[in-house]
Amino acid sequence: MVTCGIDVGSLTGKAVILNEREIMAQKVIRVKRTPVETAEKVFNLVLSESKIDRDEIKYIVSTGYGRDNIPFSNKSVTEITCHGIGAHFLLPSVRTIIDIGGQDCKVIAIDRTGKLVDFLMNEKCSAGTGRYLEIMADILNLSLTELGTLSLKSKSPISIKSTCSIYAQAEVLQYSSTGFKKANIAAGINKAMAERVVTMVKRLKKVNPDVCISGGVAKNVGVAQHLEDMIVTKFLKPSSSLKHSPFLKMPVDPQIVGALGAAVIANQRYKRL
């Protein structure tokens, strides 16, 4: 049975077509003028990529900040739930998901069935969200991926003192105009970003292994590396008796986890009809 999940975020729209356990197609696009336009566009793209007929799709679940009012969606589900289900589908041992999107950051705790146990969310402050990295990458004239790879070359990252994105931007501008190496600036940015996220993780009652990162920011290897180091040393080391690393890599594009979760929920829903 074929289902579809559509995740309309603040900066990107994602869609996944799922046939039971097989991902048949996936797509990520930049948002259009309105959430509805974004959903339609990404849906059409993922349809043509999968070469599946519109009628074959039995159920569509939409999620993300623009999830409501999508005319062709059968149901809308919050992105917290979808990320939990999507991550569980891919990595059944995962208990903590850190999802960093374009304009928010979520920490989600799930149980062994993928059900939500606890979550925290920051959507009020741009520090610690994808926007922070976008602003900084712009100053350095780098793509988000480059911001990650370049930072790995740094031996002495700059230190960013401000929390606020606006103040941090001024700091980075100053570093950049006074001749600091791009790699060191990039590493400092990624580290500051990871620190913001860890501040939020700290507020979760308990961080259970395994942990994974989803969302667009997971593609920045620098942030992912810093996050892994900080979380493993701060929250997992003493109690962890695991033989494997408690930090798991997403086996698919980490940006589609929410859309995938939506497609999984669509499958469950349809079967219950």
Partner: protein, 267 residues
Amino acid sequence: MSEDKYYLGIDAGATFCKAIIINSDRNQILSKALSLIQGNPKKAAEKCIKAMLKEEKINEKELKKTAVSTGQNGNKTAIGKKISEITCIGEAAYFLNPKTRIVVDVGSFSMKVLKMDETGTIKDYLMNDKCAAGSGVLLELVGEGLEMEVDEISEKASESNNPIQISSQCSIFAESEVISYKNEGANVADLLAGVCYSVAGRIYPLVRKVDKDPQNVAFTGGVALNSMIVKNLEKRLNIELLELGIEPQYIAAYGAALLAKSNSGGN
């Protein structure tokens, strides 16, 4: 009659450097200048001084000896003594209008509220320098996003009959919110009015934190140039703001010049 002496005050803020030269005789502003910081406060300060001295026959060396620098980048000007902004703003506001008890200063990056007693002594102050919400940066971002000058915002906003409420706190998210409303076809005047109200709405709680029943309040800093924000703040506080008779963005520089004078023995 002794010969005139001159004193220099420099306020190197986050975005602009402001400088003032006063005449020792009646503390009158002889000359003032403003220049963009652009990552180099020292250069910006020198640029201001050069512009001010162009038409005045004043000894630059003598002037710098007694000068006072203030502001976020005040210690980077390498000119004169550094004195805190709070002190400078309080000094100037009290001098210009001795009725002043509270000064709200909102610049491009941060806001401060200070409270004085009837002698002009600062009793309490609060600063928001951790988060840019409520500072002038939102006006700059929105100006850029809508491709208009910052000083056009309040005039355009005053045409609004139906301000749109901006719900984001973070200035960066608020700018995105404004742009997406615009893309959905919102009226620009209504949007800008919403932006002005949102800035005033962030300033108001800080004032109330310093004083539960604020009276004799002066509003300074670059953001006070926006008349929509001024009016909305007056409405929220239910008072009329005091007149200081100075361009609001020069208040700290003027205070610095007054302190330069009193530090070197002038009355």
